[in-house]
Every structure is written in C-alpha cells, then in structure tokens.
C-alpha cells in the first residue's frame, strides 16, 4: 500500500507582497503629496488630492497622510472662513531639531513653542518640565545661542524676561505697545504726544471762535475733533516713527480728560458711536486761596500762634510781601 503524501501548503499571507509594493508606492505617494503641498502653499484639501491622484486608494491615502502627520511633515488646519479641513506643509519640521539637540532641550523647546505669542517665564518652564533650574538656564543659553529662541522684556512682570520662538512677534501685552521700549515706559514720548493733541484741540477751538457771530452752538460744535481725526493728524506729523493706533490715541486723550483740560462726548455717526473731544475751560481760573502763601504752604498743619511755624515770622510771607 502506498502512503498519500499530502503536501501542506504553507499559508502565505497574500497581503505581504502587496505590502512591500505598497511601501514603495507609499514613499512615492508621500513624495507626490509633499510636492503638491509645496505647490499649493496655502494648503490643499481632499478634492485637490483626488483630482491629482485619481487612482489612489482611499485607505492608502489615509495611511500616507497619517504617516506624514506623525512625522510632522504636514499639518491639518481649518480654513478660517468655511471651516473646511485643509492639509498644509509643515515648514519647520521639529523632527529635524530633534536630531540636533538634546532630549531635554527638546522638552524645553516644545514648552516654549506652546507658549506661542505671549512667551513663557523661566519659572513656568521649570514647573512644566520638572527640570532643574541650572539645567534650564544652560539649555536656554544654548538655544539662544543657536538663535532658536529669544528673550523679550515683559512689562507686566517688571523687567522679567519671557522666552519665545525666534521668529515670532511678541504680543502687545508683553511689550506694552508703542509706549514701552525695551520694557521701559517712555514718559517723554507720552508727554510729547499729549502736548501735541492738546495743541491741536486748542487750534481747533480758536478757529471755531472766529465763527462767534453764528452763535455759541456753532462755535461749540465746531471745536470738536474725533479721535480718528486726531490719530490721522498725529500720524501725518511723523513725530513717532511707527503708527499709533486709534486706541492708543484715545488712551492719551483720556489722560487729558483727567487733567481737566478737555472733555469727551460720544457722537453717533451713522451706525457707530465715535468719541469726540474739545477743549474746556475750568470753572474757576484758580481757587482764590492759592494766591496767598497759606493756600500752598507745605507746613500749614503745624502752623500756629506759638512755636516754630508762626505767621509772624513765616518765611513764605516774607518772600510774598517783598
């Protein structure tokens, strides 16, 4: 009797040969997608992918895209208007940095990146990363040396530096807007702009007075200037090298209101309400008491009929009566 030989077929995974083919395909498809991303820097959506690679299997496309996302070669974002999903090329692949710097430095980098526009304090980096203070300082110095991050003087925390990525523009809350340079409050600049605004309002008021024959209402209404107009005039004068926004001018004008020199009135112009300003006179030219030495005397509290400070031998009176 003869034995039947049964040759067992080994189970061959059919997918594997396709897998390797797939791998090759994948890299090719990756390259093509990256090329597309470069071609359309504003971003591509699924539709564009379909039109360019119509034969692509959806599963493969999804795999490739996921790969690229994990490698951080591309990123997903939403279009601001339509909230549609777009793919974009990630210009700064962090993975490259990963090769150059240490793992710890990488951690610090990521924390700083997350802080974005507003930057992050030394202390906060320490809290988030859990690293040693000296280590962090060393890393920060190294990163600054490589021009990957920079430090900016923050006004809110009184001369403390915040760190942010090198290319980012610091947010206004950190630098304090136009009034602060290097974390210092520019009081001379504020004073100059202050005086300019006041002078402009004075000129307007004087021009308005020429119309006195038309009645006081015309004179008063003609002496108003809106904050936009003032901003425009100041920009035209080129006192400052950069442009001042309307909000900043309004802040200056508010200080003039608090000086008692001008008053503000809201006027509705079409749909919006705008602020207009004009010069006002004080109710009294000066409180009468300040015309005698006692009104402005710094030691009035201790002045009396006996003792060191008396009106009889008061030096301020002597000066005043001469």
């Amino acid at each position: 009797m003869a034995l039947k030989v049964v040759i067992k077929k080994e189970k061959v995974d059919d997918a594997r040969p396709r897998q390797s083919a797939r791998d090759d395909d994948k890299t090719e498809i990756e390259a093509r997608i990256l090329e597309l991303l470069r071609k359309y820097p504003k971003g591509i959506n699924d539709k564009i992918l379909e039109t360019h690679m119509p034969n692509l299997d959806i599963q493969i496309r999804v795999d490739v895209i996921n790969d690229l996302l994990t490698k951080k070669k591309m990123k997903l974002f939403q279009a601001p208007g339509t909230n549609e999903l777009f793919w974009g090329l990630n210009e700064q692949p962090v993975s490259i940095k990963l090769k150059e710097v240490d793992k710890e430095e990488n951690v610090v980098m990521r924390i700083i990146e997350e802080a974005g526009n507003k930057g992050i304090l030394n202390k906060d980096i320490r809290d988030q990363s859990g690293l040693n203070l000296t280590t962090i300082n060393k890393i920060l110095k190294a990163l600054e040396g490589k021009n990957l991050i920079k430090s900016v003087l923050s006004i809110s925390v009184a001369k403390i530096k915040v760190y942010m990525l090198f290319d980012l523009q610091p947010d206004r809350s950190v630098t304090g807007g136009s009034w602060y340079t290097d974390g210092e409050f520019e009081s001379e600049l504020v004073d100059i702009v202050n005086q300019q605004c006041y002078r402009m309002l004075q000129q307007k008021a004087e021009a308005a007075k020429l119309k006195a024959m038309d009645g006081p209402l015309i004179v008063r209404n003609a002496s108003f200037l809106s904050s936009k107009e003032i901003c425009q005039m100041i920009s035209d004068m080129n006192i400052v090298k950069f442009n001042l926004t309307v909000e900043e001018i309004e802040a200056i004008l508010e200080t003039l209101v608090y000086d008692g020199k001008i008053e503000m009135r809201m006027v509705s112009d079409g749909d919006e309400r705008i602020k207009t300003y004009r010069i006002v006179e004080t109710l009294l030219s000066s409180a009468a008491i300040v015309r005698i030495p006692c009104g402005v005397c710094p030691v009035i509290k201790i002045c009396g009929t006996a003792g060191e400070v008396q009106p009889k031998n008061c030096v301020y009176y002597d000066q005043w009566l001469d």
């Binding site: 006179e281 009294l284 009929t305």
Partner: protein
C-alpha cells in the same frame, strides 16, 4: 450758649463793662439773647457766628452795592453798617450829612435818599429787625418777633424834619416818627449775591461773556421766584426767560442766538442750568448742590495743582471721577511712570486728599491674608479739611497784618501825625515854603519808604484775606447744600 460769669473769669472786667460790650455786640447783630430754659428771668447770650464772619465782607458789600446801584445807596449801606441797627430816618439823615460833606456844591434832598432806601429794601439787601412782642414788657427777658410780610416794608418817613435838621447842620436827628422801626443789613441776601458773582464768572469762562449776561438774568429770575433756603430753585419757563431778555435791552447777539445760548449753558457739564421738564417751552432750574459740588471740586483741583503739580492733579481727578481705583490701574490709565505715580499717590494720601479702603481677599486660613487696597476721594471730608486750612490761612493773614502794624506802630503814628500837620499847613496860605520843606524833612526818606512799604504789605494782606474768603464761601456753600439735599 455761653453764660458769661464775669466774676469767676481770670479777666475780670467788671459788670458794667461786660454789659456795655454785650450791648454793643447786640447792636451790631453779633450776639443775640433769649430767655434761659431753666430760669425765665435770666437771659442767655449766644454768638451769631455767621454774622461775625461776615464782618470781613463789608468792603465787598459796599463795592457790590455801588456797582449795582450807585453812590447814594453805597453811602446808605455804609452808614447802616456803621450803626449796626438804625431806623430809616436816622440812616437817611446821616447819609445826607456825609454826602454833603463830600461835595459842598450839591445838597442832596432827603427824598432822593428815601427812594434809594426803598430800592435797597425792595431787593432785600436790608431787612427789618424783629420788634418787641406784644406781651414783652411783662417779661423780664423780652422776646422779639417779626412777621414775614413786614420784613421788607418801608414805613412812611417824614422828610420835613430831616430836611430841617440838615439845614441846621445838626449832628443828631431828634425824635422821629419811625424810630421804632429798625433796620439792619441782610447778610443772607449778600451771600446769594456773592455766590451769583462766582456762578456768572464760571458761565462766562465756560462759554463766553454774552452767556454770562444771560446767566445773570436767569439768576435774577430764579432769585425772585424761589425760597432762598431751598437746595434747588423753582423752575422758570422758557417764555419767561425770553421775555426778560427782550425787556432787558441786552446785546443783539444774545437776542439773535438766545436759543443757542440757553442750550449751550444747559448742556454744559458744569450743571449751570438743569431742565426738569418741557412745559411752557422748557422748564429750567438750578440745582445748587450739583453746581457747588463742581465748583468745590474745581477749587480742590486748583489747590492740588498748585501744591503738588499736574501729575498729582491727574491722579486726584482720576480717582475722584472713577470712585475707587487700585494703584496699578491708576498708573496705567494716567500714563505716569510707576515710581512717580506711587510718590504722588502717597503724598496725596499723606495730606488727606485721598483715602484708602481695604478689602480683604479672604482665601485660606493658612496663607497670610492678601487684600485689595483701593484709593478713593471722600469729597465732604476733603472739603472740610481744606476749609479748616482756609480758615487758618485767613486767620494767619490777619495775624500777620496786625503784627506788622503793631511792630511799626511808632513809626506809623509819627508818619500819620506828620501828614496831618502838613495838610493843615497847606490849608493856611500864609506859611512859607521852607517851613513845609523843613517839616517834611523831619522824617528820613528811608523811613518814608518803609512806611510806604508797610502800607503796601498791609493792602496785600487785606486782599489776601478777601481771596481766602472767596474760597471759603465756595466750600461752605458746598457743605451747606450737601447737607440740605440729604
């Protein structure tokens, strides 16, 4: 109410002198009396503070009356101020005498003066003193009373006896028919007038002088229709104001732009005119408490400005307008560098212009409790502090003046004697010029210049006192109307 017990006081003046002093003060409206609560037969004397204070304002009263009416009314008022309380005939008689001394050419008829007197009474500048009550003679301490409608009623004055006395160059008017009806100066009316001057000036500064004119007219209308003690005037309608403007022969610009002026004054943030309603074309009144709050704030602002500087003023106004502020907020909104802002804030705090309110941020029991420190301006308190300082300033000016004059008393007396002698000699024509020259040389030119200087200093101090008085008026009015509104 002080009961003056002369015998136990260290300055024992003697009863007769004390009685005379009291009588003089009562005559001049500085002291009043009434029956004691415990014992009806004993009188208690009390001081009328406001009237004593108003002594310093007498020159201002004369100037105002002269400006509003003329010389004869001014003289009438001066005589009345000198006499304290007097009957109409007496006042007219003495004024006529004074005027005749001044200019010998014209002899003023008493009837003209009588008319001036009536004018003063009509406008309430002078007021009748209360007279003896009906059963007063029965009581040991008489009571005085007067009816509302009699307060400004001028009695019939017999001109004839007065004219006769004047011709005879008498110094005293004898008995006359209205000797029982006695008048005195009405201080409240003058206060109103002084306040009106300040308000009109404020209106003129805010808009222009024509607006000041209009405001003056409106103030007059308000005064005529309102009760002087109320915190706001009774409303006056648009038509009434317009009529008054037309009747008053005002400047043509005012007539032409009357609506505009009224509107601009009404819309001004100082609160010079309020519009409570629209009846009769618009009802307008004045809220004294609001206007005087603004004026008091303006005075305080000016004082802070002169004492501490413009940055401190900004911080002060900011805190006052925003009610409560933190230190950081103040320095951000005011755009003042941090260090300076802190310095000025603490200076204002030290001199009681700013007050502090602490609110605790109560959190855990373990951590030290943090608190919000808020700055605010407690306006009545600040006004009271500054008012006290102003009184002190006024007092200092007076003390200094007295001191200067008494120190150089001898010199001044010598100078005065010399001047009077020179006057007399110049009057007699027969004296040769050398004698005059010799006499004037008895005083060294340095001494003469010193006397000049002393007179100048004294004048400056008097002016200074009137200035202090002006601020005091504003601050006192604010406190008075503030307490009324509550």
């Amino acid at each position: 109410m002080e009961k003056l017990s002369a015998k136990s006081d260290p300055i024992y003046l003697g009863e007769a002198i004390v009685k005379k002093a009291l009588a003089v003060m009562i005559q001049h409206n500085l002291v009043k009396f009434q029956a004691s609560e415990r014992n009806n037969n004993v009188a208690e004397y009390s001081m009328m503070h406001h009237n004593v204070y108003c002594l310093i304002r007498y020159p201002k009263y004369l100037y105002m009356i002269k400006r509003i009416y003329g010389t004869s009314e001014e003289i009438l008022l001066e005589i009345l101020l000198n006499l304290g309380q007097a009957s109409a005939s007496n006042v007219i008689f003495h004024s006529a005498n004074r005027l005749n001394e001044a200019n010998d050419s014209e002899v003023l008829s008493p009837s003209a003066l009588h008319q001036s007197f009536q004018r003063l009474a009509q406008d309430n500048f002078i007021i009748r003193c209360p007279k003896l009550a009906e059963n007063a003679t029965l009581l040991k301490v008489p009571t005085l009373e007067i009816e509302e409608k009699e307060k400004f009623a001028v009695p019939n004055v017999e001109i004839e006896p007065i004219a006769r006395m004047l011709k005879e160059k008498a110094t005293q008017l004898g008995g006359h028919c209205d000797s029982e009806i006695i008048w005195r100066v009405n201080h409240e009316r003058f206060d109103i007038e002084l306040r009106n001057v300040i308000l009109v000036n404020a209106a003129a500064r805010r808009v222009d002088t024509t607006a000041g004119e209009l405001y003056h007219l409106i103030l007059k209308l308000w005064r005529e229709s309102s009760n002087p003690d109320s915190p706001a005037t009774t409303p006056v309608s648009y038509n009434v104001i317009k009529d008054a403007v037309r009747k008053n022969d005002s400047s043509p610009i005012l007539l032409e732009h009357f609506d505009h002026y009224l509107r601009v004054l009404h819309e001004d943030s100082a609160g010079l005119i309020d519009k409570p309603g629209d009846a009769g074309g618009g009802q307008f009144n004045l809220d004294y408490s609001k206007v005087f709050e603004n004026l008091a704030c303006a005075s305080l602002d000016s004082i802070v400005l002169e004492r501490f500087g413009s940055k401190a003023l900004r911080l002060f106004r900011l805190t006052r307008i925003q009610k409560f502020m933190e230190q950081d907020q103040m320095q951000n909104v005011a755009m003042i560098p941090a260090k300076e802002a802190k310095m000025f804030t603490y200076k204002l705090l030290e001199h009681n212009f700013l007050q502090i309110k602490e609110l605790k941020k109560g959190t855990s029991n373990f951590a030290p409790v943090k608190s919000f420190i808020l700055y605010h301006v407690d306006l009545p308190q600040v006004v009271r502090t500054v008012l006290e300082a102003s009184y002190k300033g006024l007092f200092n000016a007076m003390v200094r003046q007295m001191h200067d004059l008494t120190e150089n008393k001898r010199l001044l007396e010598k100078h005065a004697m010399l001047e009077s002698m020179l006057e007399r000699l110049k009057g007699d024509d027969g004296v040769p010029e050398e004698e005059i020259a010799e006499l004037s040389d008895t005083m060294h030119p340095a001494e003469k210049s010193l006397v000049e200087k002393i007179h100048l200093m004294s004048d400056n101090l008097t002016l200074g006192q009137t200035q202090a008085d002006e601020t005091i008026l504003i601050l006192e009015s604010y406190l008075k109307f503030k307490s009324k509104e509550l």
